[in-house]
């Protein structure tokens, strides 16, 4: 494996870790402003993280070592995700070329870790959240793979860096129906995977409507810090991916310092725009009933499927 792409991957991880709390901060702040509140400022998530790390964890009696391990696994999978997805630069690593199936399964490792975390304490809420979370993860899978299939047809590869690079070099393929439909389908899936409205309400305080929060009810202090950071990373990385698919400009094509810096700046811009858009859309949206979610996911599957058909038609 040549060293340059590896270094860039590590830079991506660092950038993602810095940006993730900010992305959450921006969405919360935007939401607060739109609702007429002052808001805590965009740095609040980072401050929360520092506070959580300084506290003593409380673990329920009867929990297994999984309660300690699962948050770390979740965090590691999110960091790996940040290394594999083309955020700052579209440079495939030689032996792990950011293949979408690999990316999805790394994502799923985190999903499974947090689902098991939810079950471990033996509380009814944890089991409920875990069950709902896994059901949604299962239904999301067909959309992800079919959407990527559609995106991979023009690029001739399922490696995300190559797909992003192909879209950057041939902008005409962005505005095709196939490209648009696939990205829209992916965007819906990203909302589902990261527990945003209308699938899950990240700010809810009602146990019975929770999905993500129900699983981490028993988690506290540093365990919670890892889970939070990991979830924020997932959101930021996937938003960054959607951003780079929609607007692939600025993504570095070489490992030189200049393009990488430019890539990081471009990423910051895209993430800021998407975070504001996300928050704005969420303000006007209510959470879907759990059993209406399959409808939404079936819709996104149809969009992905139409993208495949459409890509055949122009090919």
């Amino acid at each position: 494996m040549s060293v340059a792409p590896l270094v860039v991957a590590l830079v991506q991880v660092a950038v993602a870790v810095v940006f993730a709390p900010l992305v959450i901060g921006v969405t919360r702040q935007t939401r607060a402003r739109l609702e007429g509140r002052v808001g805590p400022g965009v740095l609040q998530p980072a401050r929360d993280l520092r506070k959580l790390l300084a506290k003593t964890p409380l673990r329920a009696a009867g929990t297994s070592p999984l309660t300690v391990v699962a948050p770390v696994v979740l965090l590691a999978s999110s960091l790996l995700l940040a290394a594999l997805v083309p955020l700052v630069a579209a440079l495939p690593l030689a032996l792990v070329p950011g293949d979408l199936f690999v990316v999805v399964s790394v994502l799923l490792v985190g999903t499974v870790a947090i689902a098991l975390l939810g079950l471990d304490a033996g509380s009814a809420f944890g089991g409920m959240g875990s069950s709902r979370h896994m059901t949604i993860a299962a239904l999301v899978e067909p959309t992800v793979l079919v959407a990527v299939y559609a995106l991979s047809i023009p690029a001739g590869s399922s490696a995300l860096p190559l797909i992003v690079a192909a879209r950057r070099d041939h902008p005409a393929s962005i505005a095709t129906p196939a490209g648009v439909l696939a990205v829209v389908a992916l965007a819906i899936v990203v909302l589902a995977e990261t527990g945003r409205l209308p699938i899950d309400n990240p700010a809810t305080h009602l146990e019975l409507t929770m999905i993500h929060e129900a699983m981490v009810l028993e988690t506290s202090a540093r365990d919670l810090a890892w889970v939070d950071l990991a979830s924020w990373l997932r959101l930021s990385v996937l938003l960054g991916l959607v951003g780079n698919l929609l607007l692939p400009w600025g993504v570095a094509g070489t490992a030189a310092v200049g393009p990488v810096l430019l890539g990081a700046l471009a990423l910051a811009g895209k993430l800021a725009v998407l975070a504001v858009l996300l928050a704005t859309a969420e303000v006007g949206m209510a959470k879907l009933r759990l059993f209406r979610v399959p409808e939404l996911l079936a819709g996104s599957f149809v969009l992905a499927f139409l993208a495949v058909t459409a890509s055949y038609l122009v090919a």
């Binding site: 023009p154 041939h170 079936a298 599957f301 149809v302 038609l313």
Partner: protein
Amino acid sequence: MSVAGELPVMSSTAAATAQLIALAAGALLVTSVLVVWRRELSAQVRLLTVQGVSLAVLAVTIGLSGPRSARAELLVVAVLVLVLRAWLLPWVVGRRLRAGIEAGDAAREDGARLNPTASLVLVALLTTVAYLVSRPISAGVATRAGGGISGPAAFAVPVGVCMVLIGFLLLVDRRRAMSQLIGFLVLDNGIATVAFLTAAGVPFAVELGVSSDVLLVVLILAVLSRRMQAQLGSTTLDSMTELKD
């Protein structure tokens, strides 16, 4: 294989035309799917408007890319499409809908026979069917146009066929008279899409005739649904079983 890869051989206008046709056809397809997806009747009517505009864009694009002699006629047809399908028909349906809601009818299609998830998956399968069966039509169009199979014809013909199928699905699946009307309009838009492509633009007279037929049907159905409302107190087709007995 990619669109971009073909760019050098096409002139820039041809490429733009292809892209525009692809986008218009994509919009037609997506709006049809969304009509199946959304249960809110007023949302469905708005989607019909978007569909009408997309159809007009398609007509204009084909008109401008066609032979110079037919251009004027096709542009007139496009205007006709725009007025009728993007404005008049949705307006009639929407007006009737609002009147119905004020008279106590439901604003949502709540009696569909298939659950939403199943109908959406069915739509995905119908796309495939449309894609499979439209090969002879696209091939015919492509030969006449002298181009390859990968032209706009190949793109839009399956879309039209798919819209026809989706329209039929709506007619079969839905219970409310208004939904039936919407399904009928989607079906008709599908037929118009295929017609624009296969005939390389529909002659003005034909389009005028077809459009006035559609208008007539919509008006009759609108009146009929008002009569149903008055007589039966609802516009669910389940109350109508006279044909059987």
